[in-house]
């Protein structure tokens, strides 16, 4: 999700093609070519510039609506009904081969393994969705920042929060007894929900700070973040962890 304003000029974009299975777009105002996933201009008059990212969430409509009762939703148009992604689009896409070079270097993960990617400053880390499905809440560090990555009940929507509240760094765990995803912190016993809101306990009413995530295929994340780390024991040798 990007802001379209660059140097005070509002841009409109057209689809151009694909660059290693991530698409390129061209703005009509300057003819600059932009890479979709990074928002970076790769060719043309504004080359080198970056679009400003707007924090976005990728969750079920029911969850979004609950948290934003007045939300408006992009309408499903009849004339495109046949063209829209099918319900099982994610399964279908698994059959589409990733670019050969990306496959060759994909290493410990399958090229099309789904990962929840988190980037903090220059540090990146990929959290394989299979691990998230197993653990539902993963407390970890990205670039030295304490975070927790949580997976919603649909086992597909992920969010990441900064574990620092005020002066504290919380040790957060998944609340086992709760059917719906909930967290509890060891120090104060406060419970937190999937929106990062403290629902009960000493810190009730406080909010965890969101950290932007990007759910993508491992090969694409790795392509954009060559020195990414991967969450999980002994998946990558220490030497290639980088920063």
């Amino acid at each position: 999700m990007w802001s379209r304003t660059v140097d005070g000029q509002v841009l409109t974009f057209r689809l151009l093609g694909v660059n290693n299975q991530n698409f390129l777009m061209r703005d009509e105002q300057t003819g600059t070519w932009w890479q979709q996933v990074t928002g970076e201009a790769v060719r043309g008059p504004l080359a080198g510039r970056r679009l400003r990212r707007i924090p976005s969430d990728e969750v079920r409509l029911a969850v979004w609506h609950r948290e934003h009762p007045d939300t408006q939703v992009l309408v499903r148009e009849d004339r495109f009904a046949e063209a829209y992604l099918k319900e099982d689009w994610e399964e279908r896409l698994l059959d589409f081969p990733a670019p050969p070079a990306a496959v060759a270097r994909s290493g410990p993960l399958e090229p099309r393994a789904v990962v929840v990617g988190v980037r903090v400053d220059d540090a990146s880390k990929a959290f394989p969705i299979e691990r998230l499905r197993a653990e539902r809440a993963v407390a970890d560090f990205v670039g030295g920042v304490p975070v927790i990555v949580v997976l919603d009940d649909d086992e597909r929507s992920a969010r990441c929060f900064d574990r620092r509240v005020g002066d504290r760094t919380l040790e957060l765990f998944r609340l086992e007894e709760s059917e719906s995803l909930a967290l509890v912190d060891a120090e104060t016993g406060t419970t937190w929900d999937f929106s990062g809101l403290a629902t009960d306990g000493e810190l009730v009413g406080q909010r965890l700070t969101s950290v932007q995530t990007l759910t993508s295929y491992w090969f694409d994340w790795q392509n954009q973040n060559p020195s990414t780390q991967v969450y999980g024991p002994s998946l990558l040798p220490a030497a290639s962890g980088g920063g």
Binding site: L16, G17, F23, V42, I54, H65, A101, A102
Partner: protein
């Protein structure tokens, strides 16, 4: 034979025009590995193609006129044959002119002009459908992934801010 030489030249120029227009599209197709050089080449071709293809098409037309004026056997058939041949060879030239001005990938993924929004109950998306959600200046918007995943680009203005949803 002069006609044969002219025809060969015409063919070469006409197909060059087509190739020049096709190349950027083909370079940016999903299955390949793309290098920065590929992107640079595609960019140059795409920038030059609209003008170059016109130049090539004009040259092709001139050559076509020259071919037409070459001596030929008398009769309807030879005339028709020459006409047909010329049309066939000129088509790639004009194809190139047109193609250099269109985006092949947009034929596969139509852009969404005039995006409409509605309350969740009326928008047509299921409760358990994945959406991209944003909130700007207190205004919340949700973009179903199945929709943005098709158009790839959806323009909007949220909370006064011009934005673009991409997937």
């Amino acid at each position: 034979m002069k006609t044969a030489v002219l025809l060969s030249l015409l063919a070469a120029i006409a197909f060059s025009a087509l190739a020049m227009a096709l190349a950027p599209n083909l370079l940016l197709m999903p299955q390949r590995d793309h290098t920065p050089e590929d992107i640079a080449l595609a960019f140059r071709l795409r920038s030059l193609a609209p003008i170059l293809t016109v130049g090539l098409a004009i040259t092709a037309l001139v050559l076509g006129a020259l071919v037409w004026r070459q001596p030929r056997r008398k009769g309807v058939a030879p005339t028709l044959l020459r006409a047909a041949l010329l049309v066939l060879l000129l088509l790639p030239a004009f194809g190139g002119v047109l193609l250099s001005r269109t985006s092949m990938v947009e034929r596969m993924f139509a852009p969404l002009e005039d995006a409409r929004f509605a309350d969740p109950a009326k928008a047509g998306a299921a409760d358990d459908e994945l959406v991209m959600g944003i909130e700007v200046a207190g205004e919340a918007r949700a973009y179903p992934v199945r929709i943005v995943g098709y158009h790839h680009i959806v323009h909007d203005t949220v909370g006064g801010e011009p934005v673009v949803a991409t997937y």
